[in-house]
Amino acid sequence: MRLNNILRIALLSFKEGLRQKVIYGVSCFGLIMAAATYAFIPFIGFDICRVVIDFMLMAVSAGCLMIIFFLCLPGLVNDIREQTVYFVLSSPVSREEYILGRFLGFSMILFVALVILNVPALLMVKLYIIKYPGYVPLHFGWHKLLLASFFKFYAALVFLSFVFLVWSIMESGVLVSIASIIAYLIGQNINTVKDIAMNSKTMGITAKNLISLVSWIFPNLGYFNLNTYAAYGVNLPEHYLSKIFVYGFSYMGVAIVITMFFFKRRDL
């Protein structure tokens, strides 16, 4: 596998993706969310800064999700349907290099979206800290907010790797979309469901095992939710950040390897 090929494909994906103008839509979304925060937050009489932080982190998360569903996923589906994948694979490029290049290119677009979405988000938080200093949580820190925002992006990367996996297996773009939406919903809630299941005295062992299996297969996006940490500065469990980083990296690695396995055997 040649790094040069992967980087070239990544750059191609990045340029092609940026020119599709979805990023402008996401930027507008970020501005709308900031404006909505400015308009509606004053009506909330308590915990204002916490709500602003939550809102802004939600905007970052939603913006990254839009990039995945409106740019990355259609890009992959169109590669097969419009046969644009032939352009890359008719060159001396392996299918593995193509997958890694596309994933890296989409990751770069997600990072650009993260930076763009963070601008109005951080400005809004700063505005409310200045406007309502009494509501600023005691242990609030800008580095905690940035870290929480980064892990929204990281969660998007983990989810993107799952989208790649599903795309490599399924031929229909509709099925890929449906499977991805289901995976996202499961990923956001599996932590809560698993906690309830494991602590339940009435749930059978089979059901518990099934929930445990689901939590292994689908990406556990709840792990990357650091909203409370960002808003209140609460202490995280020891080595939590490194654990979730390793989990995310491992999940992405396994998902991409399985993607390569299936894609290599697929008729294009």
């Binding site: 040069n4 090929n5 070239r8 191609l12 340029k15 092609e16 020119r19 599709q20 419009e82 046969q83 644009t84 994948v85 032939y86 352009f87 694979l89 008719s90 060159s91 001396p92 490029v93 392996s94 290099e97 055997r265 008729d267 294009l268």
Partner: protein, 243 residues
């Protein structure tokens, strides 16, 4: 050496609707010598595009062996020697032809071999230099065909695999492409060409094969095929006699 060899290649598809297995290529065997221009003919659905995709490793045959330049197509280095032009232009519409040619020239390493300015020289040769910075979504059909041909020629490949290179072109452009193909033949390139336009095939090909329902119906010199009534009549006669 034979540039392209297919030995007993079979490919079947299972239709989702009919739930039946359909044989697209049935024990297909032929070989193509270096330096020849080979016309691959057949009616719609004969298996021509499937054969081409197998040569490029886009499709994996169910059985049989394929060699391109002596190597299996699943080795991606093989494609350093192949220039491919698809029937439908398969390009990223928001990119410019200059960017795509640059991409190909970096990936294949020709930029290092031929130096800076190679992209411009190639675009000038295919009449696309003035459109270098125009996104491909704003190209006409004829310009897209030329762009696809330019992308196939970027790395000066030994073997060209062209799927319907003349379709959608006006007569003037068809003439220019045919002259280009003759020029490439003089340079010793091996050209594997699939087309429905039999008049143009007669002008440029040395050998032909006629494919129908995944099987070779005729393979031989084009002079022998077209000696009596012309290639088109021979083509129709071959297909109707065997039905």
């Amino acid at each position: 050496m034979d540039a392209i060899v297919l030995e007993s290649v079979t490919k079947k598809y299972r239709s989702d609707i009919e739930r039946q297995e359909k044989t697209v290529l049935d024990n297909l065997s032929f070989c193509l010598k270096e330096g020849t221009v080979f016309g691959f003919l057949g009616p719609n659905g004969a298996g021509k595009s499937t054969t081409i995709k197998i040569l490029l490793n886009f499709i994996i045959p169910d059985s049989g062996r394929v060699f391109v330049n002596g190597l299996s197509p699943d080795r991606h280095n093989v494609r350093k020697e192949i220039g491919y032009m698809s029937e439908k232009p398969c390009v990223y519409a928001n990119m410019t032809i200059g960017e795509l040619v640059s991409f190909k020239s970096y990936i294949t390493g020709v930029e290092k071999t031929f130096g800076m300015g190679y992209t411009d020289r190639l675009l000038e040769k295919t009449g696309l230099l003035e459109y270098k910075n125009r996104p491909l979504k704003r190209f006409s059909k004829g310009m897209l065909q030329r762009a696809s041909l330019a992308l196939a020629l970027v790395h000066d490949p030994k073997i060209l695999v062209l799927d319907e290179p003349l379709s959608g072109l006006d007569p003037l452009m068809r003439h220019e492409v045919i002259e280009l193909l003759k020029d490439l033949r003089e340079q010793g390139k091996t050209i594997f060409l699939s087309s429905h336009i039999l008049n143009d095939i007669e002008k440029v090909c040395d050998d032909i094969a006629i494919l129908n329902k995944g099987r070779i119906m005729y393979a031989g010199k084009i002079d022998e095929a077209s000696v009596n009534d012309g290639l088109e009549n021979f083509f129709v006669k071959t297909l109707t006699d065997l039905q």
